[in-house]
């Protein structure tokens, strides 16, 4: 049951709900949109055998990088890990299982779970190595690959603004995978630079309606981030 007024909580309490072995979607494309404060707390709390779903592996010392380095990630579902030499090394050594999807298909597989479907039918990647191993089906005289949706137990997302009901506003290219993941996970934990009272965000400015968000945590804007001025409405 939704409890609109019981979502605003602490970093510690929000992350403590995550058990070992959880599947976790993590927003972000590069650093923008990566929920670094939530991930740092996850590192501190010690959950292990995690499956992470994230566009990329960040860099070795940012975002999910330290979790990978600490051996806490069993499996990573992603589109590209080229900026994280530690992740590549862990993959090559067989300590990290990496599942690669083309970026737009990864986004759609997540969005598809968020829309409540089983999967979708695509022609992307037919006849290529990365498209192998998919079940195919003929419709209207052409062949299509079935792409099952990807869901997760948790999503960790980064927003610019939130309200205490869990409405979220993203900023700039920090949007990326965040709103899709907020739809696709069973429990959604959001960090935001400001958490306002309901009514402070204009209804039309909200990217992720509060119905999708389980918990909201206010984080301090990094002092050295010139871009971090929240845009009130």
């Amino acid at each position: 049951m939704t409890r609109l007024n019981h979502k605003h909580t602490t970093l510690e309490a929000a992350i403590a709900a995550i058990p070992d072995g959880a599947s976790i979607m993590v927003g972000g494309f590069g650093t923008p949109g990566t929920p670094c404060a939530l991930l740092d707390e996850l590192l501190a709390q010690g959950q292990k055998r995690l499956t992470l779903i994230k566009n990329d592996a960040n860099e070795p010392d940012i975002g999910i990088g330290p979790l990978i380095r600490a051996g806490r990630v069993e499996r990573l579902i992603t589109s590209h890990i080229g900026l994280n030499r530690v992740a590549i090394e862990e993959m090559n050594q067989g300590r990290l299982a990496v599942e690669i999807h083309p970026q737009g298909l990864l986004a759609e597989k997540i969005r598809c779970a968020g829309a409540g479907h089983y999967g979708f039918l695509t022609d992307i990647g037919l006849g290529t190595e990365i498209g192998e191993g998919r079940r195919e089906i003929d419709c209207d005289g052409r062949t299509w690959a079935i792409e099952p949706a990807i869901r997760a137990d948790f999503a960790l997302v980064h927003a610019d603004l939130a309200d205490t009901y869990g409405n979220l506003v993203y900023r700039g290219t920090a949007i990326n995978f965040n709103p899709l993941m907020a739809m696709a996970a069973d429990r959604v934990i959001a960090q935001a630079y400001r958490v306002e009272a309901p009514g402070r965000l204009a209804p039309a400015s909200i990217h992720t309606p509060c119905a999708f968000v389980s918990q909201v945590v206010q984080i301090a804007p990094a002092a050295d981030r010139p871009g971090d001025h929240a845009h009130a409405v």
Binding site: N5, G116, Y165, N167, G199, A204, P209
Partner: protein
Amino acid sequence: MPSDQQHILARAAKEVAAGQIVNLGIGLPTRLFHYLPPDMEVLVHSENGVLGCQPLEGDAEPDLEMIDSGGAYIGTRPGASVFDSALSFAMIRRSRVDVTFMGAFEVDQQGNLANWKIPGKFSPGIGGAMELAQKVRRLVVLCSHNDKHGNAKILRQCRLPLTARHCISTIITEKAVMNVTEAGLEVVDIAEGLDVASLRAATEAELIIDEHRLGRF
């Protein structure tokens, strides 16, 4: 409004808890809003693309681009958001709506619902009812206990085309409040002044009634 409908709505309001997300179907359910405590923190979802709508205050000038799915002009309350139809139904299919109130032509003791089509007589389309009924966490049906000819609407088995199967949690009529359970249709409350024999006579479905636990409303 007929007193039977007021009776249904007053009872239905008790099915809403503070902090919930609620969808109100077209017709009678829409009016449920006025039976909720004004300070209750509830967000009403309307499937045309708004969460947190509320009826317009008496003489407020309407914004012609703000309506609910029944076509009424609406306002919003703090915490509201607007969004496109795909997101609106993603919210529904992901079961992010706690409770939906809907009308019905027929319901049955398996919790089946028929409220969109009467073959040969009424078939304007299904709108958003199917997905709401199939995916909402709790579906509460608000309807008259019998049709205008006195025929039963609470049946053993629906005869009209179904909106969704096994979807109903609770049925509220002017005569009774019934929960759909594994065992069948269990009467929770019976209307003040109505006896059990009269209720059974007005109902085709088998009713499970424990007179010691029966409430009045």
